[in-house]
Amino acid sequence: MTFHEMNPTIKFLTVTLLMFGLAFMYNPWTPLAVFIGTLILQILFSNVNWKRWGLFMIPFLFTALGTLWTTLVFGKEAGGEVMFTLFGKDLTVENVMLASTLSLRVLAFTALSLLFTLTTDPKRFVYSLMQQGKLSPKIAYSVFVGFRFFPILKRELMQLYETHALRGVPLESRLDYIRHVPSLIIPLLAGSIRQAERIAFSMEARGFTGEPRATYEVVAITRYDFLLASILIVLFGVSVWIGI
């Protein structure tokens, strides 16, 4: 029983529900408990690359810090005893509690997000959305096309750089490459649009009509899905209780 095997649609709904619930909690202990609890669940029921987890987490530590001091400095006037003064602003216990709530909320959101992102195979997610979420196959398969499109996009970009180089545009450093991105956007998009048309024609030529179709991969719902979803909801319940 791991989060990797969990039905992606159910996982998506549960994680989103928890995040939405967190948005209404205004004490620092609930998001902190959710953050720690999610971390523990991630350790217990998943097998992720923790280095990747850390890399994803780092930018959000910055966001959390930014949120912390913004809320302190630009926060609403709140009554109560003044704890300390920052940039000429008197801060009460209330202010500090609010700021740490919002800051910890960023971290709890990120931990929950990573619980989903790092354990979900995109292809299974789309299959599951089509099979359980009644997503139109037209859209589902267009997403697959889009996903397959990345290598094409990369190749087109490289080709555009080469044509630039042939015309004598200096492309020596990495900075040169970045500097020329704006002048490549239009040709890149135009090329992609032409490709899209060709892909659509070949899909139709192979008999794709957009009707529901039989799939090789069936993403089922098992009782473990409900068990894992319940564990997450219990975690939220306990966190709310801690906050009271």
């Binding site: 709530t101 490709q195 048309e197 892909i199």
Partner: protein, 191 residues
């Protein structure tokens, strides 16, 4: 809703979503770096970037749902290629897409002038701001600061997404790649 769509229009929608998902993700990183320094307001003035695919898709394809679907797809693809905002980004995409779509719905999907595109940018800014207000807990901030944030986001939505989206699409039209899509056809009728 999708019955009347041609397959090539849906595939175009998906491809646009992919291209802009990459752009969106790049700007999330730009925004994140900023946000550490100047707080969440860092995102506001570039927020229009994250609405642009709605405007471009609706302007080119001109069908009900184009603005909404493109934004949701871009968000989904963004999540798949590694946005740590994770599943929440899809929710954000749905909310922003609805805001942009509303502008086209109000005009009966008949007008695609600059002001409608800018209205769509404003619509996306408005709905996404409501979301930020709840999820980001903006109720904790002083009303002046919140108003500044909204003014920045709305301006950004109108200029970067509305005006920028139109300029980008018109440049694309000139390359001839859009022959066979509504934008090119409508252009010929009137001009």
């Amino acid at each position: 809703m999708l019955k009347s769509w041609k397959l090539k229009e849906i595939v175009l929608l998906a491809i646009l979503s992919v291209v802009f998902a990459v752009v969106y993700l790049a700007f999330v990183h730009v925004g994140n770096l900023w946000a550490g320094l100047i707080g969440p307001i860092a995102y506001e003035w570039i927020f229009g970037i994250w609405f642009i695919v709605s405007i471009i898709a609706a302007y080119i394809i001109r069908r009900p749902g184009a603005a909404f679907l493109s934004e949701v797809l871009a968000a989904t693809i963004e999540m798949m290629i590694g946005n740590a905002i994770g599943p929440r980004i899809i929710l954000v995409g749905i909310i922003q897409g609805l805001g942009a779509e509303a502008a086209f719905a109000v005009t009966g999907y008949k007008r695609y002038d600059l002001w409608v595109l800018m209205l769509a940018g404003f619509g996306a800014a408005a709905t996404s701001f409501a979301y930020t207000y709840v999820m980001g807990g903006l109720v904790a901030l002083s009303p002046t600061y919140v108003a500044t944030m909204f003014a920045l986001r709305a301006t950004s939505g109108m200029l970067i997404a509305g005006l920028g989206g139109k300029i980008l699409s018109d440049l694309l039209l000139r390359t001839g790649a859009l022959e066979g899509y509504s934008l090119a056809r409508k252009g010929r009728v009137h001009g």
